[in-house]
């Protein structure tokens, strides 16, 4: 992490009453529309889905790849297979049912997926497998899990990233999960249906994809972060022209996130 960023991070922490993780969770929660089916992975994406459900999208449905649909989350799960996701669901199935629901166009078109990754490129393609050579990696990560499936199937995805130059790259070390592939028409050319990444939420700001070019651009900066800092931490050139300042979490949002979603601060810390 470059020194500038460390400062920024601390500054945000000091000047305001919320952490970056809280900001990120709230930013993602705001992206979720009421009535949507929300696929969540482990960690902050779960928190975002819980926050959305408790704040602005009470009719959204939380949904896990492990087969739980409409989980009643009374405590934050620490994995998508946590028994907490099995409580008071509509149906407890398995992975086969969960992914079929996403591949199925009638339901998949209503799913928003929240993903994370180790690397992202300008078209929102993701790497969560290795850094370095695939056969002899410098760093090995967990692998795709459901990420490739979700990114292939669902209507739109929201992506969480740590904003660093080595993570926002020209070329992925390994292409795990499809975004917009190589631009307009890319998904169709390789045989995928509609869908694709819509928003990237980082510890510095919010990025989206241009309608025409499908290239990532800077949509918003967090309070105290400049567009230039974000470009400095990105390994490809971003259009910075659309960047607005992101409205910080409200007191109500923070209260619900902290008291209702993660009172033990298992994910927030």
């Amino acid at each position: 992490m470059p020194p500038a960023l460390k400062e920024t991070k601390m500054m945000v922490k000091k000047e305001t009453d919320y952490s970056l993780r809280e900001m990120m969770a709230i930013a993602a929660a705001r992206e979720i529309n009421d009535g949507e089916i929300v696929f969540c992975g482990t960690g902050i994406s779960m928190l975002a889905a819980m926050a959305a459900k408790n704040i602005s999208a009470p009719q959204s449905t939380i949904f896990f790849e492990t087969g739980a649909i409409d989980s009643r989350l009374e405590e934050v799960p620490l994995a998508v297979a946590d028994s907490r996701v099995m409580h008071a669901t509509a149906v407890n199935g398995g992975l086969a049912e969960a992914f079929a629901t996403m591949q199925n166009r009638f339901t998949g078109s209503r799913v928003v997926g929240i993903l994370g990754a180790a690397q992202i490129d300008i078209y929102g393609n993701l790497n969560s497998t290795v850094i370095g050579d695939y056969q002899q990696p410098d760093i090995r990560f967990s692998g795709s899990g459901g990420a490739c499936d979700v990114a292939s199937f669902v209507n739109r995805t929201i992506i969480f990233m740590q904003h660093e130059k080595r993570k926002f790259v020209e070329k992925l070390d390994y292409f795990t999960s499809p975004g917009w592939i190589d631009g307009p028409g890319g998904r169709k050319r390789i045989g995928l249906g509609p869908g694709g990444p819509e928003t990237v939420i980082t510890n510095l700001g919010i990025l989206r994809f241009a309608q025409e070019s499908k290239k990532m651009y800077l949509a918003a900066t967090y309070p105290g972060v400049t567009a230039a800092e974000i470009q400095q931490n990105t390994g490809f050139t971003l259009d910075l022209g659309e960047a607005e300042e992101f409205p910080p979490p409200t007191a109500k949002e923070l209260k619900i996130l902290r008291e209702r979603c993660d009172p033990q601060r298992l994910i927030l810390n």
Partner: protein
Amino acid sequence: MKSSQNKVTKLAAAITLLVKDNCHLSIGGFTINRNPMAAVYEIIRQKKRGLHLYAHSNGQGVDELVGAGCVTRLEIAYAGSGRFAPTCVRFRRAVEKGELKVEDYSNYQMTLRFMAGAMGLPFLPTRSGLGTDIIKHWGFDKALRKSDETLPDQKLTTIDNPFGDWCNSPKLVLVPAINPEVTIIHVQQADRRGNARIQGLTFADVEQAKAARHLIITCEELVEEDFLKQEPDRNQIPFIHVDAVVPIVWGAYPTACYKHYDYDPRYLNNYRLAAENEDKYQAYLIKKIMKTANHQEFIALNDDEHLKSLIADPETGYATGLKRN
């Protein structure tokens, strides 16, 4: 064996009989839930070597088998234990050191591979993976695949939809079936013949179970056949698939078993810390696993109060309010 009326077996005997060195093994469960940990530890105690392991998004069971040196090849979608280890530590180390050959698939691809095995099919199709490196990069190369008849000749393949653009799917990825020699799953309830009931999410356990030539079921509770037959809608695995039934309480510990007990955050955190350091890990292996004669002794390393804190609330199915930091 599969038509026996009483398949109840001791764990050590079942592992000795069915899990041979170099065999193709699959284990059930997902990340930190319902891994067949008692069986995993027994495999480690019996020093099995050269296993070709299939797992799904798993998690504690995989990492312990890899860490103990039992596994040579691994086919998997995700090696992580949720917040306790976003990437499994010993797995990561083994891959980075070149000690473990891995074939990567996505979760759904692995599900479909087990499902194909269970359905008696050579492959199943999906749109997942089109255009990605999961298709391009093979962990097991053509030469290896050609030399080993227990492997399909390709990692996967893509085809044009023979029905044109039916369902707006011009191209499909075909993933090859897995038929493990042995699958081990842990369930909440089973009877002597092998009928089994999983409570809560089934993950891909049912597919893994039915895909296997041999199936070992470890269970929290051994129940009467009539008990299971009173509510057959709640059962998933009929006895015809099962070779051995091993009743073993806390059989998934330190992972969770819905409606019975939660995962043990203290154990999982300590495991990660040990896994990150070579000496600590060897000490962990000896103290916790090799020096305990069986799962009962392993469980008895915990004081009763700690175990009690993990017991599931009957309503929610997990240990409500458990300290999980």
